[in-house]
Symmetry: C2
Subunit: 268 residues, 2 copies
Amino acid sequence: MPARCSGMKDSSRRARVRLYVDQDLVTGRQVSLSGSQAHYLSKVMRLVAGDCVRLFNERDGEWLGRIVSSGKNATDLAIEECVRNASSENGPWLAFAPIKKSALDFIIEKASELGVERLLPVDTQFTVVERLNLARLHAQSVEASEQCERMTIPRLDSPIPLSRLLADWPGDRALLFLDERGGGQPLVHAVDRLRLRAAGTQPLHQPGFLVGPEGGFSDDEAEAVASRPFALRVSMGPRILRAETAAIAALACWQALTEDWRTVNGEE
Amino acid sequence: MPARCSGMKDSSRRARVRLYVDQDLVTGRQVSLSGSQAHYLSKVMRLVAGDCVRLFNERDGEWLGRIVSSGKNATDLAIEECVRNASSENGPWLAFAPIKKSALDFIIEKASELGVERLLPVDTQFTVVERLNLARLHAQSVEASEQCERMTIPRLDSPIPLSRLLADWPGDRALLFLDERGGGQPLVHAVDRLRLRAAGTQPLHQPGFLVGPEGGFSDDEAEAVASRPFALRVSMGPRILRAETAAIAALACWQALTEDWRTVNGEE
């Protein structure tokens, strides 16, 4: 059972460095960090024995860790106290066609900051990018999550064909299809429609968003998506947004319009 | 007086290349493009004599131009017909502290896509970046405007100190202050408040947004901004967004929530 803690204390607010660790976090335990995390603590942030950092994972929440020793290849920390409880952070999903590197990095980083729960790369007819470095994308997502104070890391799936995404899509999760060819309903209307469907139940069930590659979807693909009962075709305004802009704009709007942004820094 | 045209025709939709030109656009006129634009047309897009492109500026609107000759250093085009009228495109303003290069490029590009009318760099206490290459930033803004089908290019100001921004700020334009320290009102509430103030007049008067550098604003600066009668302190949700993410998320929400995104690809 996870420890309960009453909130973040001054000491933990001063510990600005925040790292995701997969190891169990519990008072008295010692945690050893190696590789890029040890390098970051000792060489980039120049932390030494006695300094505190915050460590977190989705199971145990966020804990203060005090550096016990800092060697060339490893930094050892003693876990002191829990400063934030674990939380599930159900967020929207984002299905996206891989696009060129800088734009893709941008999607991963910003989607993580904007609270996406699951990232689903999809192969489409006009997808140009052939190979995804999932380990690199996951690392970017972890770094963004560390910095933005998330308690969970978005799940990053392996790429699947669009047809399989549609076949496997859970029927009770709306899929907001960001259609660059226009003709869809404004995003605000789509959110209103989901609210109506939910008939007042809170919190609103999280949808997924789908955005295509630079060249958009083929007509057949767009038809295949739009014909699904869970799909809502959405237009992103009078200008033609790049794929990555559309994805991030839609996520930002969803979060602002639903419960998420009505709380301020995690407190109601 | 600008020519009136009835809408984009099939021939112009097929002309996928779209370039901003400062020269006057009027039927029968010949326009000569040089430098990077000539290179782009002949070497990147491999267009030849007889091919059509779309040319636009904020005064004359958008026109079809047919390539007459394409040399090593210049491409000459004959202006044929107007395909879209000029439009003023009043959008929100964005005041931002210069940040590291990739994040700044991101702000310029995405703000242009999201319809910002004016970009105002501000020097703040914690601003690290010392010199802005305004010509490079302007070029990025032009390129994004060309691709997203805007008719205007955002105005890019020279950097000014925050104190001067506040002193010169027009009193009738709300300034939504994206305060990373939290405690502001949710963005959706701020937009509701602006609607109430406008008392039903349409279109809603465009606000400005203000976002700080990586290190945020100093306490004195935050106080100086928040004390202005035109300022509204806004919180961007439970996670800590990077400066560039906050700026783009706020712009996307504003456009989605106000008139802009209720039209679909320029048509009501």
